[in-house]
């Protein structure tokens, strides 16, 4: 065997484990790359051969179809397919965002109720979870859609609620403040919430009377409610409202909430809440009884024990599976197509795909969107999890 100058047996290059490890990985990557390239080329070739148009040129072509709910400016005659995509995206975000908020609230309440010592409350919560978890969500959506439509009176016999609010099976109509853009409202409310949160945090750190959360609460509330009022006054109150009014076929004016949105929210929230309830219950049960008993011995009240001792520790167990439920809710929102809610899948992989015939492009874009949603949700929740997780020192 050949020897190196130092007298150690020399290993031939091809038997060098380090080199081999690198070589295998390079080969594997190259093979995967080639496979991906071949797949793309194959698809492109076949499309070209079958004379199927490909590319993203359709993005700037006039759409020409109507959409029932648009959060951003859109019109059939002048907007493009690209614009229709954004309409669908914002509609999906709306239902996913609202759904996550309501499902978390409802799910937490039911999770806590399942641990209640009250027999009736505990049984009801268990029954809810068992019933809802075991029925497919699509069926539930169809049920809620028909329930919403059938329960509400028709347009001619619609309810007139106080404050100029109208309700019938075409939707819920509320007065719309004139000269105020919907996005401004969202921005002001978000700013107020942020301001309140900041006060609560900063004041809580200071010494003295503000350390007590009970003392901070009224001030926080004042900020959250007061700031929008101040903003309103600054914009030149008193406001005028555009009241919804009955036309020949429909209510005109005001802010419109479609029954499709309500039914979709009902379905998704009620379904997801059942899962979140179980996640919350598992989290609460993971905190050892000794913790609560010790807090009781210190004289804390029941709500305080839950809020200050149990929930912060339970969060560590709750967050990761809760993230999964948020992702599920977002993905399930694509079932909207069954009940006529114009979400991304309905508009883009439905109408746009069919008109343009460009299935590959449209589906790839849509998949990329859902993937980004999921990754962003995971990112945010992981960051939050890192904060509440047990820090080992």
């Amino acid at each position: 065997m050949p020897r190196s100058p130092q007298g150690v047996p020399r290993v031939p290059l091809y038997r060098d484990p380090k080199l081999r490890a690198v070589a295998y990985q390079v080969v594997l990557c190259a093979a995967l790359g080639l496979l991906a390239w071949a797949a793309v080329r194959n698809a492109a070739d076949n499309l070209a051969h079958a004379k199927i148009t490909s590319g993203f040129g359709f993005w700037n072509v006039t759409a020409g179809f109507d959409i029932s709910q648009t959060l951003i400016e859109y019109s059939a005659q002048s907007s493009t397919f690209g614009r229709a995509f954004w309409v669908g995206l914002t509609n999906t975000l709306l239902v996913a965002g609202l759904g996550i908020i309501f499902a978390t609230l409802l799910g937490t309440a039911i999770g806590i109720a399942r641990l209640s010592k009250n027999f009736l409350v505990e049984r009801l919560a268990s029954g809810y979870v068992e019933l809802i978890r075991n029925v497919p969500v699509l069926l539930q959506l169809l049920f809620w859609y028909n329930a919403v439509l059938k329960a509400l009176p028709d347009f001619a016999n619609g309810f007139v609620l106080p404050g100029g609010v109208l309700l019938n099976n075409r939707g819920l109509y509320m007065p719309r403040p004139l000269g105020v853009d919907g996005w401004h409202v969202v921005a002001v409310l978000a700013a107020a919430a942020l301001l309140g949160y900041a006060f609560n945090k900063l004041a809580g750190r200071s010494a003295g009377v503000w350390r007590s959360s009970a003392a901070r609460f009224p001030i926080t509330l004042l900020i959250v409610i007061g700031a929008p009022v101040v903003a309103l006054l600054a914009m030149g109150a008193p406001l005028e409202f555009d009241y919804p009014q009955a036309g020949r076929f429909n209510v005109r004016g005001g802010v419109e909430v479609l029954p499709e949105l309500v039914a979709l929210l009902f379905g998704l929230v009620i379904y997801t809440a059942a899962f979140i309830a179980e996640v919350v219950r598992a989290g609460l049960m993971s905190v050892s009884r000794g913790q609560a008993e010790a807090a009781e011995a210190l004289g804390l009240r029941r709500m305080q024990i839950l809020r200050l001792i149990v929930i912060p520790q339970a969060m560590r167990v709750i967050i990761p599976p809760l993230t999964n439920q948020y992702l599920n809710l977002t993905k399930n929102s694509s079932l909207a197509v069954a009940i006529g809610y114009p979400d991304l899948v309905q508009i883009f992989t439905g109408t746009v795909l069919n008109i343009t015939g460009q299935a590959i492009e449209v589906v790839v874009i849509t998949m990329a969107v859902y993937l980004s949603f999921s990754l962003i949700t995971s990112l945010v929740m992981n960051a939050y999890n890192a904060r509440v997780a047990l820090v080992e020192r």
């Binding site: 484990p17 109408t351 343009t356 299935a359």
Partner: protein, 348 residues
């Protein structure tokens, strides 16, 4: 460790080979594969049909399909196999129909599909003709007291997704300066159900579909079809682009049914007509010359179609015409000799 490395290298080598193999096969010519040969080998025709539309394509409780479109598929099967039952029907939604044809899931799409320039050029498909001349209309409750589609300003309209209907609707309201509120559903049944629960004031689809939909409603008498026809909807079969033999075959099966009606050759008298002296009938039924061969079919292809399925008039009558529940008049779909626009080139 070494064993693992070996396994890995084997896996990598396989991947590379698979990659090359895939790249090598990349140029298999899907579009030009002979559809007729494939169908013959398989022993049955895969036909993309509606599945929800009475008169055009609808299976009954026993799974027996009926309809004008369905019978065209049966006629194709009759011409190829001398057996009208050798068809596998695939129910397709408006939204999925083109993909199903493009990917080869079905050999022919006969699903009340409108022939448009875009569909002819962008989708890699070809329309072979028009088996039903249609136009879009509206159905509305009588209680709404609407007499014309022009009164529909601000009305909510239910519509099925993935159709030319969706686009015509927006066009019509825009052209007449009316405000449109549309609610779009994935399938016909869902859209109709929403209309029936009063989610919408009116429902729109092709006029033939409106009559079919009216039958589905709980109280058909409470609904009325408005007189306006707002678009041209030539409905016809589609095939994949690039297989001219198959394109010709599907096209001529429809023409054969029209020619048979024009020459008064029907299911009942076709055996008798075999003895006819009329040269046109002789050419058509294959008692003289052999035109079927030129389509890749047998000499008696039209005889098979008429004997097993019927001529166009018979098929129209039993599915959508006076012999059916729909009772739609022939109108534009009458033969050109009787004031309509159904006109077939001669078999010669």
């Amino acid at each position: 460790m070494r064993r693992f490395a070996h396994a890995l290298s084997a896996a990598a080598a396989t991947m590379v080979m698979a990659g090359f193999a895939y790249a090598g096969f990349a140029h298999v010519d899907l579009a030009h594969a002979g559809t007729l040969d494939t169908v013959k080998q398989r022993g049955s025709l895969n036909c993309g049909a509606n599945g929800q539309l009475p008169g055009f394509g609808l299976p009954d409780a026993q799974g027996n399909w009926t309809g004008l479109d369905v019978d065209l598929c049966r006629a194709i099967a009759a011409a190829i196999f001398n057996d009208a039952s050798k068809v596998k029907f695939v129910a397709l939604t408006a939204k999925d129909r083109f993909t199903a044809l493009q990917t080869g899931d079905v050999d022919v799409l006969v699903r009340n599909t409108t022939w448009t320039l875009l569909r002819d050029t962008q989708l890699g498909l070809n329309a072979t003709g028009v088996n039903y001349y249609d136009g879009q209309g509206f159905i509305i409750r009588k209680s709404a007291k609407v007499n014309s589609a022009l009164e529909l300003n601000d009305a909510t309209i239910c519509v099925q997704q993935g159709t030319t209907t969706e686009l015509n609707l927006a066009d019509y309201f825009r052209a007449n300066r009316m405000r449109l509120r549309s609610v779009t559903f994935a399938t016909l049944d869902e859209a109709v159900r929403a209309y029936e629960t009063d989610r919408c004031n009116a429902f729109t689809t092709d006029a033939s579909g409106l009559y079919a939909v009216r039958l589905k409603l709980a109280k058909p008498d409470e609904h009325v079809v408005l007189p306006e026809i707002i678009s041209k909807e030539p409905l016809g079969p589609f095939v994949r682009h690039g297989d001219d033999q198959w394109f010709d075959l599907v096209k001529w099966v429809h023409f054969a049914m029209l020619n048979a009606e024009e020459l008064n050759v029907s299911k009942a008298n076709v055996d008798e007509q075999l003895k006819s002296d009329n040269p046109e009938i002789k050419r058509m039924l294959g008692t003289e010359d052999n035109f079927g061969e030129r389509l890749g079919l047998s000499k008696d292809w039209v005889y098979r179609i008429v004997k097993l399925v019927g001529n166009y008039g018979e098929v129209f009558d039993r599915n959508v015409g006076q012999g059916s529940q729909l009772k739609i008049a022939r109108g534009l779909n009458a033969l050109w000799t009787k004031g309509g626009v159904q006109y077939a080139p001669p078999i010669r």
